[in-house]
């Protein structure tokens, strides 16, 4: 065989294997939507997505996914409040503040945290955090604290605030969305931190030099020069972090409490979408309505993370070099 033919063959086979990931992605999308189609067709898109009753094994069954979607939204919001500042703070610390030695120590540590099995995080949440919340924190917040407040005899504090603590800070079960969010935060911190750290490190050294040479202090340089210059990378970090939170399964499965109802308060239980799939798939008979409904949940999850990936990809392409804008 002539070497040209051989080279050509190699190129063709390498390229076709290169296409495999495209095929896999298309297959996943196609398969999910194929299996999900039936539930939306049978029950109606609006009824499925906004229906508030998820009773898949009742007779007749109800497939309203809204409680699951609301569960995911609730844990995602709660987690974001904690994970975004912590993740970005970690990144800023490693990239800008820490000295060389601390940096060399912290970076691998964050990487280890990133590949920490989530089932162990869920286990930790179940065995340690949940009992602390229900057995230790709850009596303090819902009994001792209102009592103290009542004894002050101050208007508002001794009445409204005390009642609020009594009602709302009682934690019936440690398995709730707060516990889930705490553990999800541990999951999301390394994701956000490592991407954000890359973004901060990519800011040219000359920007920092210019700022320091004008007599700016370190904090000012970080806040007014480094962060604005890396804002696109930082937002990609946040978006991918949120994607991780939404898709994380084992933690919400083990510690979110499992109730398929819309959570109204931070100590309510919930069944976020991944937890519903993981908990129910094993019992759902093949090709039953329940099976299709769970694929419907999976398709929505896939769609959400797909959109998040697209957005972050768009941002990182479009804003390679960002303007600081009018904020400097």
């Amino acid at each position: 065989m002539k070497w040209q033919t051989k080279e050509r063959l190699v190129e063709i086979s390498v390229s076709s294997i290169g296409l495999l990931s495209v095929i896999v992605l298309l297959l996943i999308g196609f398969f999910l939507f194929k299996e999900a189609f039936y539930i939306f067709y049978k029950e109606g898109v609006i009824r499925v997505i906004f229906g508030s009753q998820w009773y898949p094994t009742h007779e007749p069954p109800d497939f309203g996914m809204f409680p699951l979607i609301a569960g995911t939204i609730a844990v995602t919001l709660l987690t974001s409040i904690m994970a975004i500042p912590l993740g970005l703070g970690t990144a800023i610390y490693i990239a800008e503040v820490a000295n060389h030695k601390v940096k060399e120590f912290l970076k691998p540590l964050i990487e280890m945290l990133a590949s920490f099995p989530s089932v162990v995080l869920g286990f930790f949440g179940m065995v340690i955090i949940a009992p602390i919340l229900s057995n230790w924190l709850s009596p303090i917040l819902s009994e001792k604290l209102p009592e103290m407040l009542r004894n002050t005899n101050l208007p508002f504090i001794s009445t409204t605030l005390a009642d609020f603590c009594y009602d709302k800070l009682f934690i019936a079960s440690g398995l709730n969305i707060t516990t889930a969010s705490l553990m999800l935060t541990v999951r999301a911190i390394p994701v956000i931190a490592s991407i954000a750290e890359d973004a901060l490190t990519a800011v040219p050294r000359t920007y920092r030099e210019a700022s320091y040479s004008l007599g700016a202090d370190k904090w000012h340089t970080i806040w007014k020069v480094v962060i604005p210059a890396s804002v696109s990378g930082l937002s990609v970090a946040v978006i991918l972090g949120i994607g991780t939170i939404i898709g994380e399964t084992m933690i919400v499965l083990m510690v979110a409490g499992g109730a398929a109802v819309v959570p109204h308060w931070i100590f309510d239980a919930a069944r976020p979408m991944p937890a519903a799939i993981a908990a129910e798939m094993a019992e759902a008979p093949y090709k039953s309505l329940h099976y299709h409904a769970l694929f419907g949940v999976g398709a929505i999850l896939f769609l959400i993370t797909f959109v998040l990936s697209m957005i972050s990809d768009f941002i990182s392409r479009k804003y390679r070099s960002v303007r600081i804008g009018e904020k400097v």
């Binding site: 290169g18 996943i28 703070g89 610390y93 490693i94 280890m112």
Partner: protein
């Protein structure tokens, strides 16, 4: 012209260092935040190690479970995870490395490259439970592998594929252009150059990525829940079409399902410890290898 505060003061008077409260406050805040991850990792590790060590013994690692899994060891569980991980890597590394070769050496800017990159990026963000659904539908049911070692490994392989591709691509791209030039100048073809020069030079980097990938795969639960994991099996599977037990799934099952949750607590701790040791050892190995390569790299 407006003047700046201190402007007209002599330097002696203006230069006395002022307390910078704002900077002090924010920097200490950042310092505290910066250590949050490390402290949490330390807390969870000490929890697992403290409780796990009390159960750990030679028998625990080498014996199968007995008495409805309330006693005995976790040997088949460990073997299950090892088999799943090895088979997954055997499946994913060739595909991942070839895709990386395509991206680093053969791809030309255009629709095809764009869609491949896009797919990899998107695949990396797909939740692991969705891979589980896919594996269930395609490998378990459609291809009729059943709940099996093979179906689980393939699902895991698809999940880790984007990671293997990107670490391999990075390793390939780090090979200096001058190496390729030298080979081509000797009359080697493109593929010969890739095979004899580029791949061997990039191999340590590719392996490091694979090892770090192993750490991620061995801790995953959601993708194997409906594709490979067995609640109980007495020994090591005899073929790839048999279901296996796995460390992460074992922890989940013992901690949440069944009637002996409290009694099996020690076994749960022990299993968690073994899993953590495997994951962290792989991680550490990968990190050390990477540091060594960075030091050795003379070009």
């Amino acid at each position: 012209m407006h003047t700046i505060e201190n402007m007209n003061k002599p330097f002696e008077l203006a230069c006395k260092r002022k307390l910078n409260i704002k900077q002090g406050f924010f920097l200490s805040l950042i310092r505290t935040l910066g250590f949050s991850g490390a402290i949490t990792l330390f807390l969870i590790l000490s929890f697992v190690f403290y409780n796990g060590f009390q159960v750990l013994s030679w028998e625990f690692i080498t014996e199968p479970p007995i008495d409805a899994m309330t006693k005995g060891g976790i040997f088949p569980v460990i073997m299950g995870t090892i088999l799943l991980t090895i088979l997954c890597m055997v499946l994913v590394i060739p595909v991942g490395v070839i895709t990386a070769i395509f991206l680093a050496e053969y791809s030309k800017p255009g629709v095809m490259l764009k869609s491949v990159m896009m797919s990899i990026y998107t695949l990396a963000g797909v939740p692991s439970v969705v891979f589980g659904l896919f594996g269930l539908g395609v490998f378990v049911v459609m291809l009729n592998f059943g709940t099996s070692l093979l179906a689980g490994s393939m699902t895991l392989a698809i999940m880790i594929l984007p990671y293997i591709i990107s670490t391999s691509e990075e390793a390939l791209k780090a090979v200096p252009y001058s190496f390729k030039e030298a080979s081509l100048a000797c009359g080697a073809t493109k593929w010969q150059t890739i095979w004899k020069v580029v791949l061997p030079t990039a191999m340590p980097g590719i392996l490091t990525g694979a090892i770090l990938g192993t750490a991620k795969v061995s801790g995953e639960t959601a993708p194997i829940m409906f594709t490979a994991a067995a609640f109980f099996s007495p020994g090591v599977p005899r073929s790839v079409f048999e279901p296996v037990m796995a460390l992460p799934y074992h922890i989940y099952v013992l901690a949440t399902a069944g009637t002996h949750i409290e009694e099996t607590r020690p076994i749960q701790y022990g299993t968690a410890l073994v899993l953590i040791v495997i994951v962290l050892a792989m991680n550490l190995l990968g990190i050390i290898l990477r540091l060594k390569q960075r030091k050795k790299r003379a070009w």
